[in-house]
């Protein structure tokens, strides 16, 4: 242990107690972010302790990265500095739950799975169907900006996050929003925290509106010979106005992966996931008559669209298609020895070009896996059987073509996962036109630049 590390850990111990500080080198490594290891790890028990640590860090200009279960810490650029890891998993209570109002206030480190179980007792849920569901915390989910598979029906976190408490860069405990479902009092600062990768503040508590658990669920799979016909079918579903909770389109490569995962989990492998065609998966929910009607209409639409096969799909558990697709971000990262994983948004009018996007790995030593999620969110992975100079160079070239492809269509792309060397060489963030505005927000929240420096867009 170096003198600096020992010193930092000791000072943290003086601040919030020895039992809340980790200083052993081997344990520090678990908090590594893109190759950087912190000098100390703190596990505050409450918001006041978070504020203590942040005030200390601000005074000493030490860099703080807050984390929950650390499942998505590689999103963003490598940090420029990293002194203190602030682990929020010591704060995991439900602060307030008014089931009759469908509102909830929950501590940062609460797991999304534990929260799901607590809400289920009141037949309610939070539509955060996010990857790493078993381990992910609510604050990590919000700060990472990761998609929920249910966004088609329930929107993104900005549509149901109604307030937050967080510690700003001066070490003050602040709040915005409230605990009611409709509220325009003051600036909506909590919206800025979504997807901010911890660069604005340390989230200590989040307020959400909750939703009633639907009476029934249903799922449907259809497989097509070409990407074009799968997209056409998808667009027909959207045009029909049928209420769908999730809508995913898989290219043949990704159907193979999903099929293999289901097989490994001893779950049923639907015929549509044979790895031969493009597949469209739909989940839907509602009362019995709604679920029956949607199932009937989807069957008809699939037939009219020329589906090779179509079938009902079970969706409820993690060993079934819906649960596996929710985890796509997680397994795509590890689906091959080398993976570059993009998250892309394209305007509806450009979805016809998606088959072309999926071919952008062709001719290279890379395989392309593409998943078009609800509301135009695309996960596109380029994979290689080994990591070497040639495959890395191919990935770097393909990545810059993906960025150009997306920007030419007024979309957005972020490279969520790539070999560290590729990340360091390039830029994981796509174009961001309003950097001057972003910097002003960052400066207001974190005047000493102590929160996760360098990880966000434009070097923030």
């Amino acid at each position: 242990m170096t003198a600096t590390v020992k010193n930092l850990a000791a000072r943290m111990e003086a601040l919030i107690g020895a039992h809340r500080v980790v200083g052993a080198v081997e344990e520090l490594e678990a908090y590594e972010v893109d190759g950087l290891v912190p000098g100390a790890v703190v596990l505050p028990a409450n918001a006041a302790e978070v504020a203590e640590v942040v005030r200390f860090a601000a005074a000493e200009k030490l860099a703080v990265i807050a984390s929950g279960s650390r499942s998505k810490l590689e999103i963003g650029m490598p940090p420029s500095r990293y002194d203190i890891a602030l682990d929020t998993t010591g704060m995991r209570g439900i602060a307030h739950y008014d089931a009759g109002d469908l509102t909830l206030s929950v501590d940062a480190g609460m797991g999304v799975r534990q929260l799901e179980m607590a809400l289920a007792e009141k037949q309610q849920f939070l539509p955060l169907a996010v990857p790493c569901f078993e381990s992910a915390t609510v604050a990590g989910t919000i700060a990472s900006g990761i998609d929920s598979a249910l966004r088609q029906q329930y929107g993104t976190a900005r549509d149901f996050l109604i307030g937050a408490e967080f510690v700003d860069g001066k070490g003050n405990l602040c709040k915005s929003g409230g605990r009611v479902v409709k509220n325009v009092t003051g600036y909506d600062l909590h919206k800025l925290l979504i997807g901010s990768l911890g660069t604005l503040g340390v989230i200590t508590r989040l307020n959400f509106r909750t939703f009633p658990v639907p009476a029934m669920y249903g799922g449907h799979l259809a497989s097509f010979a070409s990407g074009e016909s799968a997209i056409a079918y998808r667009q027909t579903i959207e045009a029909s106005g049928l209420p769908v909770a999730n809508l995913e389109m898989l290219n043949p490569e990704i159907t193979k992966i999903v099929g293999a995962i289901l097989k490994k989990e001893d779950g049923p492998v639907p015929e549509c996931l044979d790895g031969q065609g493009w597949c469209v998966y739909v989940s839907y929910e509602g009362n019995e008559s709604v679920v029956k009607r949607v199932a009937r209409d989807l069957e008809r639409l699939a037939t009219e669209a020329g589906a090779k096969t179509s079938e009902a799909a079970k969706i409820a558990t993690d060993t079934q298609v819906g649960g596996v697709l929710r985890e796509a971000f997680e397994w795509l990262r590890w689906a091959a020895p080398m993976v570059g994983l993009f998250r892309i948004t394209l305007p509806r009018a450009s979805w016809g070009d998606i088959a072309e996007l999926s071919r952008s790995a062709e001719g290279l030593p890379l395989r392309g896996s593409l998943l078009l999620r609800a509301a135009g969110a695309i996960y596109f992975a380029m994979m290689a059987g080994s990591e070497n100079e040639a495959t890395q160079a191919a990935l770097d070239g393909a990545a810059s073509r993906v960025f150009s492809f997306v920007e030419a269509r007024q979309g957005h792309a972020t490279l969520l996962h790539a070999p560290l060397a590729s990340k360091a060489r390039g830029n994981v963030w796509g174009q961001c036109a309003d950097m001057m505005m972003m910097r002003r927000v960052k400066q207001a929240f974190d005047p000493q630049n102590i929160f996760a420096p360098g990880r966000f867009v434009g070097g923030i």
């Binding site: 008014d98 009759g100 109002d101 469908l102 509102t103 037949q123 309610q124 900005r158 700003d168 001066k170 003050n172 602040c174 709040k175 915005s176 409230g178 009611v180 479902v181 409709k182 325009v184 009092t185 003051g186 600036y187 909506d188 600062l189 919206k191 800025l192 997807g195 901010s196 939703f211 009633p212 106005g241 049928l242 209420p243 509602g286 009362n287 008559s289 709604v290 029956k292 009607r293 948004t345 305007p347 509806r348 009018a349 007024q410 979309g411 957005h412 972020t414 963030w429 174009q431 961001c432 036109a433 309003d434 950097m435 002003r440 927000v441 400066q443 207001a444 929240f445 966000f456 867009v457």
Partner: protein, 459 residues
């Protein structure tokens, strides 16, 4: 441009009880005009405030610091309708309803529907993050805005957000929508267009006791029935409306609930039946279902034109905008009536019950200064009570210059310190819409924003 006293007086008011007179009113036609006017105002250190149709209910579009008022009435063009991507790009002076009118042929609509939607402008909706009856299902303005072009107080033209959503970086659209014109002047807005539902059913539930109606709302919410709108009108208010509009609200009832369910035919049938059961379980005298579009329109006409009707019975009405947890609705309504009795006012209630967004209406005569003071005191007591219940100062009307002194009920010095830093990041001299949102009162020196608010002429 207007500069004569008698012309300026027209811009002294909005829909609130506040007043403040600008020294100059200008009507820009383009974003460049806005930028040049703002630069000139900055040069002479004159405050600026933006204004749409002036239907706001919190004094947000009043020139509290005097100076120049930019009225966006001439920037009223729909610049682009993109049906395929379900987007519209509009100037701030476009009337809310006109967006829906322009796209309904394609089965689309702009979802936020404030009661004033036939007059209010989208720029004002963005500034205040306006709601409306159907926000229960669709969300408020911020949920339907994806990109903004704005002019900062130094005249710079900037763009935030992204037309198709999921913009890279911080959610700046989420910050600027609802910032009440205190950070920037919005000059172009990209909005989402929503699909019209396959089926709609509008129900009118009639009650002999207010408490039965509010208990019904509590149960509808708790049972997870999700109507697209759930509005309550109390007996006193509905009689006033009937005198004016003849919407068919029974004059002898104590309260009605106006409920709407939307979605697939199958969902609508089941939800309407569930609502009918809950209403009858709480002693509803009758639950009517609008038989056709005409009956439906008439019921909504009664709801949306209520404020015009109320203007006929008292010289002035003061519309409040508190929010409470929906589980506490019955006790809140009882307490509001007690406050009314204490101060000697009639207080009507017509509000978004499904959201817990109360609009108590205090009727008073503004020519009697004592009555005005008492009306303000009663209103403050109601709002304080909403916050005590775990609620909020404002659900959709904004803080403006009406509730800025009450902000300390909800926010700490640390909260204000951060809000002020965000304010100063874009509007460092408070030249833009001074005297709004932040409390100005003595003893709160730490939370003041810099600049010109002392020139305020508010109450």
């Amino acid at each position: 441009m207007l500069s004569q006293k008698e012309d300026l007086l027209l811009y002294e008011y909005d829909g609130s009880v506040e007043k403040a007179c600008p020294e100059l009113v200008v009507f820009p036609h383009t974003t460049e005009h806005v930028s040049r006017i703002v630069k000139m105002a900055a040069k002479y250190q004159v405050p600026i405030v933006g204004r749409g149709a002036g239907t706001g209910l919190s004094g947000g579009a009043l020139a509290r610091g005097g100076g120049v008022m930019l009225v966006f009435a001439r920037m009223n063009k729909i610049l682009e309708l993109d049906v395929e991507n379900r987007r519209a790009v509009v100037q701030p002076g476009v009337v809310n309803m006109d967006i829906t009118r322009a796209v309904e042929h394609a089965g689309l609509h702009f979802a936020p529907d404030p009661s004033s939607q036939k007059a209010c402008t989208i720029g004002g909706n963005v500034a205040e993050n306006a709601g409306g009856p159907h926000t229960l299902a669709y969300g408020v303005t911020v949920n339907h805005v994806t990109a903004l072009e704005m002019v900062l107080p130094d005249g710079e033209i900037v763009r935030v957000g992204s037309r198709h959503g999921d913009a890279t970086g911080y959610d700046l659209c989420g910050l600027f929508v609802g910032s009440e014109g205190t950070l920037a002047l919005v000059t172009e807005i990209t909005v989402k267009l929503s699909r019209k539902a396959e089926a709609v059913k509008t129900l009118l539930a009639i009650f002999d006791a207010v408490d039965d109606a509010s208990q019904t709302v509590v149960e509808i919410t708790a049972r997870g029935i999700t109507p697209a709108a759930c509005e309550m009108v109390d007996g006193w208010t509905l009689r006033t409306i009937e005198d004016y509009i003849h919407a068919g609200f029974p004059r002898d009832s104590a309260a009605v609930l106006l409920l709407e369910v939307e979605g697939l035919r199958e969902a609508v049938e089941v939800q309407a039946k569930a609502i009918d059961e809950v209403c009858k379980g709480h002693r509803a005298r009758e639950v009517r279902v609008a038989r056709d579009e005409r009956e439906r329109d008439l019921l909504w006409k009664g709801r949306k034109n209520a404020f015009g009707a109320l203007g006929r019975v008292a010289p002035c009405n003061y519309v409040l905008d508190g929010v409470i947890p929906r589980s506490k609705l019955p006790q809140a309504l009882q307490h509001i009536q007690e406050i009314g009795r204490k101060y000697g006012f009639s207080i009507g209630n017509i509000f978004h019950a499904g959201d817990g967004n109360l609009h108590p209406i205090v009727l008073y005569d503004p020519r009697d200064p004592k009555q005005f003071e008492k009306a303000i005191a009663a209103s403050e007591e109601i709002i304080r009570y909403c916050v005590e219940l775990g609620g909020a100062l404002t659900g959709e009307h904004g803080v403006g210059m009406e509730k800025n002194e009450l902000m300390t009920l909800m926010f700490s010095d640390a909260d204000f310190d951060l809000m002020r830093r965000v304010h100063d990041a874009f509007n460092p001299d408070s030249s833009l819409n001074p005297g709004k949102i932040f409390p100005l009162s003595k003893g709160c020196g730490e939370i003041r924003v810099k600049g010109k608010e002392t020139a305020g002429v508010g109450r």
